[in-house]
Symmetry: C2
Subunit: 365 residues, 2 copies
């Protein structure tokens, strides 16, 4: 009767379920593997408005891919900026464990450590292809993970914008003198560089830029590239669209994970997370390359936008000021110095290579 009691305790349904589980365990045991079935219910916050094209939708796709690959063993509930915490508190939320993960950009966290900017975007820095080389094979990701470790956070690259545009202007920039007093929405290091070149950087949230531009409160703004910019309607509030995006030759997007949440996962789910992020890095860049060129064609065919390139003289001054800004940062902080040394070495080398490969090819075709 002892045995019968034991079975009664399980219940018939459980025994039936146990049978299929049993078969499962046998086939896996034969193959020397184990199989965890614990379900992890995770929370993800982002720094993007709800359904924000490419960045927000990419974050949602990342979550969906992780769920699919894990067969539902990781379930992720996503909160857009402001839904659970404000955009700029995503880092702290993951650090504290309020959220298990976030999708974001490392340059937002320069207040935590100025070195984070090397993992986001750097004026006159590396483009997407180069940055990703540095991340995965040049030691960049290792330094990044070291710098986030004291915050209890593990980062992975999880998206690239590619080279951005230089921004929307209501006055032409024909010389450095035209930058004097220019009120431009341009945050981060780019803003600091503009300031040293005589301009007045203004930092206002994405949702308010259009009105500020239309009302003449600012003379210019930068955002991302043709696809995101067109969706915000900047072409209806500014005359000139400038290139290139000297301040953001690429922006890397990050997926960041609370250390305890990540480490609680079995190894297979850790691999799924890591490779889902790497796949999203490829996927988002591919989406931007496609949608940016299509939006550019639309903007051209509408015929209202006047496309301009920054004069060489202006770019030379912006570059000089960029070097100045980065040099000062490097002198101020040992993490910046470590990140910069690695970044710079890679950039110098890859620049020589791309000069005779990508660049020569572009100009030959």
């Amino acid at each position: 009767m002892k045995r019968r009691d034991f079975i009664a305790g399980l219940g018939v349904g459980a025994v039936a379920t146990g049978l299929s589980g049993c078969k499962a365990e046998e086939s896996l045991t034969q193959n020397n593997t184990s199989n965890s079935t614990q379900v992890f219910n995770w929370t993800m916050v982002t720094t993007w408005p709800p359904n924000f094209p490419v960045l927000g939708t990419g974050a949602a796709e990342l979550a969906k891919n992780i769920e699919k690959m894990s067969n539902g063993r990781i379930k992720i509930k996503i909160y857009a900026a402001g839904e659970l915490v404000p955009a700029l508190e995503a880092f702290d939320a993951v650090s504290r464990g309020t959220a298990d993960m976030a999708h974001s950009g490392a340059y937002y966290w320069k207040g935590k450590n100025p070195a984070t900017q090397f993992f986001g975007a750097l004026p006159f820095g590396m483009n997407a292809q180069e940055t990703n080389g540095w991340m995965y094979y040049g030691g960049g990701l290792e330094i990044w993970q070291d710098i986030y470790a004291p915050f209890n956070i593990i980062p992975f690259p999880a998206g690239s914008t590619g080279t951005q545009m230089g921004g929307w202007f209501n006055k032409e920039i024909n010389s450095v003198a035209d930058l004097k007093g220019l009120k431009m929405r341009i945050p981060g290091l780019g803003g600091e560089v503009l300031s040293r070149a005589g301009g007045t950087p203004v930092n206002i949230p994405g949702g308010e830029i259009f009105n500020a531009l239309q009302l003449g409160q600012i003379d210019a703004c930068e955002w991302v590239g043709p696809y995101n910019d067109k969706a915000f309607g900047f072409h209806k509030a500014a005359k000139y669209y400038y290139s290139p995006g000297w301040h953001e030759p690429n922006a890397t997007l990050e997926a960041i994970f609370n250390k305890e949440s990540f480490n609680a996962l079995p190894d297979d789910l850790k691999s799924i997370i890591e490779l889902a992020c790497q796949a999203m890095n490829m996927n988002m860049l591919s989406e931007y390359v496609t949608k940016n060129h299509q939006a550019l064609q639309d903007l051209k065919s509408e015929g209202e936008v006047q496309f301009r390139s920054f004069p060489d003289e202006v770019l030379a001054v912006l570059k000089e000021k960029s070097i100045e800004v980065v040099d000062e940062l490097v002198a101020s902080n040992k993490d910046v110095a470590r990140a910069y040394e690695s970044y710079k070495k890679f950039q110098d080398g890859v620049k020589e290579w791309h000069k005779i490969s990508e660049e020569q090819f572009y100009s030959s075709r």
Copy 2:
């Protein structure tokens, strides 16, 4: 007794195993998912020599990633070129089901369908970033999968070389006249183009190129880029290293799957395969970007190699002949026409975008 017989039939060990399986099923059922535990023992063939750097090692890493993410539910045994089937029989092996998958390049299969070349490399075509945009967001992968479907094969991009080098030469190319009679190892469409420009393309396997070059049986060869080329020692058999790789602005590598093998997988494993390939596409390009620039630095520091760029006049003729070759292909086959129409539309659009983004940025820094 009926119930006891039933349990006796399972054996005590199985009951104990069944219990943990039972818990597993419960936790998964609560979350509306199911969990397959069948193990798939797969065979992978490649077109690469054993441990061939980046291409062969990348294929091995792809297999390892799939195993890790699936927690051993897919196990992949890899055979390098010639170990199970010769390199150029990999496609047939997957088609027949002799192998479940292969890692390879689509241009090898032009004998199956000339349209496959659009998914490998095209002279004066798109670089890696552009090709990947086309693949994932421009309809390229869909066309590719349609073209492989009659062969019982499902392809995914699973690697990019980036822009290759123009090759090693023992004579300088100062004008189109210097191409006349030039015996060069250059296969595929590039070879056809060279032939129309007056040269003599020679198709010899990788392992025999060095000797042919050193013995003067050929005047020139192309292979991949600095990293793979240096490993083959071409700098010891040729004087000049030419850029750019007009014939292969990128080569996409493929992971191809036998349709029945792929379709037998549960959905989570299908997702794992698909995203492992996308991650490897990013990973391999990053590895090439890194190792190519480092090998270039080594070649430069050794001081023996003379770097040269093809004169504009030569590139213009090669481009003209490339268009001619592709136009003839398009006229000959409806699959080529379909692939080309999609490819060309994307290329024309993305070219305009990269002109004001990537290209302008490269020249500004």
